[in-house]
Symmetry: C2
Subunit: 286 residues, 2 copies
C-alpha cells in the first residue's frame, strides 16, 4: 500500500472491521475517480451514479457535504508525495457492519472507505496509435436490478481479467449470455459505424460509465448520432472503428480487436478530444 | 460484534486491510459452519466446497493443516462465554490484498478471516410444525463459472432478503431468469413428489449446500429416488411436500409456500431425521 492514503469513515486508517457487509457479500458500491490538481474530475457524475446505486440497493446515501469534506481532507493532503495533487481517488461505500445473514440491519450505517493513490491518473489519456482488445470467454450474467450501477460484486470482471497477461492487451470485451458485447472488463465500448456511434445497452448487465454519459452528451452536441443497440463481437470487428472509455484512461482509440485492425484516423477525433478535455477538467467542491 | 471472536490470518483481531480484494470485488469465498462441542460439523464437506471454489476462482487454497489449526485455535477457546463449545464458525477466504484493478496480483496471498459466534447453531434444527417460505421477485443471474460455489458476490441474496420483514417467514425462493426455482436465499430446496425427491439443478446459478450432498447420499442409501430437475414455483406448490436445508438450520419441513399449505407428516421423516443427526455430528480435526 506504498503511497496510498486511506480514510475510513473519516478516520485516517487503513483497516476495515471484519464484519463489514462489503466484505461479507459485496454489499456496496464504488467509484474510481481521476484527481487533478487536488480536485476530483467528473465528481458530480460519480456522485450521481453512487446515489443511483444507493437507491437500487436500498442503502442510505451519505450526506454530500460529509462525503465531500472527507474527499477534500484526503486528496488535499500535500504531505505524502512529490506531486500529491494528481492521482486516483477510490470511493467504496458499503452497507456497513452487520451480523451474519443476508438481511441488512434495521439501522444499517453505511461505511465510506476512501483511498488516494498519488500519481498521474491520465498517463494514457493522450492520443496514441490505439490500444488492443481481446474477446473474453467469461460472460456477464444478466440482472436488471444490478445493471448499470458500480456495485462491489465484480467476480465476473476478475475472472475475465485473468484470461490474459500480455501487457500489450489493454482490455477484454465481455459478452452477455446471448453473445452480445456489453463492456470491457473496465471500460465502455463504442463502435463507429457509418458516422454513427453505437454502444451496447446496459439495462441487463454492465456498468454505465461516467465517461459514457459524457460521450453521449458531447456526441449529440456535435450532431453525431448516438445509438444504444445490440452488438455482437463480429459487429465490433466490422465497424469503421472502435473506441473505449474509462474514468482514468479517458477515451482510447482501438487499433486492434482480436484479428480486426482499425485505422484510428477514421474515428471522430473532434468528439474524442473534446471528451478528453472535459473528462480531466477537475471540479471545484464547495 | 458482541461475543464474536475473530482470527484474521491467524491473528486475533477484528480488522481487515482496506485493500483486501474480498472487499473491493467480492473476490473470495465463504463457509458458514455449525460448531458443536468445540468441533466443526461437516468440516470435510465445507473444506471440499472451499477447495472447489479456489479452483474455480484460480485462488490458492490454504494448507489444510494451517486452516484447521486456526479453526481449532478460534473455536477451542473456552475463555469468552458460558458455552463457547457450541456456536457458528464463519470462514471467509479472500484473494488477499491487491492494488487497484481487477487483475489478481501475480503473487496473491489469500487471506483467511475466521469468526466464531458462540451460541446454539441448531436451535431450529428440531422437528417443528414446518416453516413458511415466500417467492422472491429478485432473480438469480446465470453464470456457470460461478454456479454452485459459495463466493462473496451475494448482492442478489441481499436484495431478495430485503423483500420481507415478517419474522414468520423463514426464507424466500429465488428463481433464475427463466422462472425456474433455484434456491432459497440461504437454503437449498427439495420437492417431494410421489415418493421421489426433486431438487433444482445448480449448474447455472445457486449454491450447492453441504447438506444438499448429504441429503442426496442418504436418500440413495435409503432407496429414495433423488432427481435434479427444472421446477417452477407452481411445481413446488403442487408437490406432496417441500423441505429446505442449510448448514445451521439442518433440514426444515415447509408447511406453507405462498398460498400452498403442506402436511409435513407426508415427508420422508426417516431421511430427514437421519440427515439431521449427521449434519450436527461434530468432526474431529487432526
Amino acid at each position: 500500500m506504498t503511497g496510498v492514503r486511506y480514510l475510513v469513515d473519516g478516520e485516517a486508517h487503513s483497516q476495515v472491521p471484519a464484519d463489514d457487509r462489503g466484505l461479507a457479500y459485496g454489499d456496496g458500491l464504488f467509484e474510481t475517480i481521476a484527481v487533478r490538481r487536488g480536485r476530483p474530475c467528473l465528481w458530480r457524475r460519480h456522485l450521481d451514479r453512487l446515489s443511483l446505486g444507493c437507491r437500487r440497493l436500498g442503502m442510505e446515501m451519505p450526506a454530500r457535504f460529509r462525503l465531500e469534506a472527507d474527499v477534500l481532507a484526503l486528496i488535499g493532503n500535500r504531505a505524502a508525495g512529490t506531486d500529491p495533487a494528481d492521482g486516483v481517488l477510490k470511493v467504496i461505500l458499503t452497507r456497513g457492519s452487520g451480523a451474519r445473514g443476508y438481511r441488512p440491519p434495521e439501522a444499517a450505517k453505511p461505511r465510506s472507505i476512501l483511498s488516494f493513490t498519488p500519481g498521474s491518473p491520465t498517463s494514457m489519456a493522450e492520443r496514441n496509435p490505439g490500444v488492443r482488445l481481446i474477446l473474453c470467454e467469461t460472460r456477464l450474467s444478466e440482472n436488471p436490478s444490478l445493471a448499470g450501477i458500480k456495485h462491489l460484486n465484480r467476480l465476473e470482471q476478475v475472472l475475465a481479467r485473468r484470461e490474459w497477461s500480455d501487457p500489450d492487451i489493454l482490455d477484454g470485451v465481455m459478452c452477455d449470455v446471448h453473445g452480445h458485447a456489453v463492456c470491457g472488463t473496465m471500460s465502455n465500448l463504442f463502435s463507429w459505424h457509418s458516422g454513427r456511434i453505437i454502444t451496447p445497452a446496459l439495462d441487463r448487465c454492465g456498468v454505465a460509465g461516467t465517461l459514457r454519459s459524457l460521450i453521449r452528451e458531447q456526441a449529440l452536441a456535435l450532431g453525431i448520432a448516438f445509438h444504444e443497440g445490440a452488438l455482437r463481437p463480429a459487429d465490433l470487428a466490422q465497424g469503421d472503428g472502435l473506441f473505449i472509455s474509462n474514468a482514468l484512461l479517458g477515451v482510447q482509440p482501438v487499433s486492434r480487436f482480436q484479428d480486426a485492425q482499425f485505422d484510428v484516423d477514421r474515428l471522430p477525433w473532434a468528439l474524442i478530444e473534446r471528451v478528453r478535455h472535459l473528462a480531466f477538467e477537475p471540479e471545484t467542491l464547495p
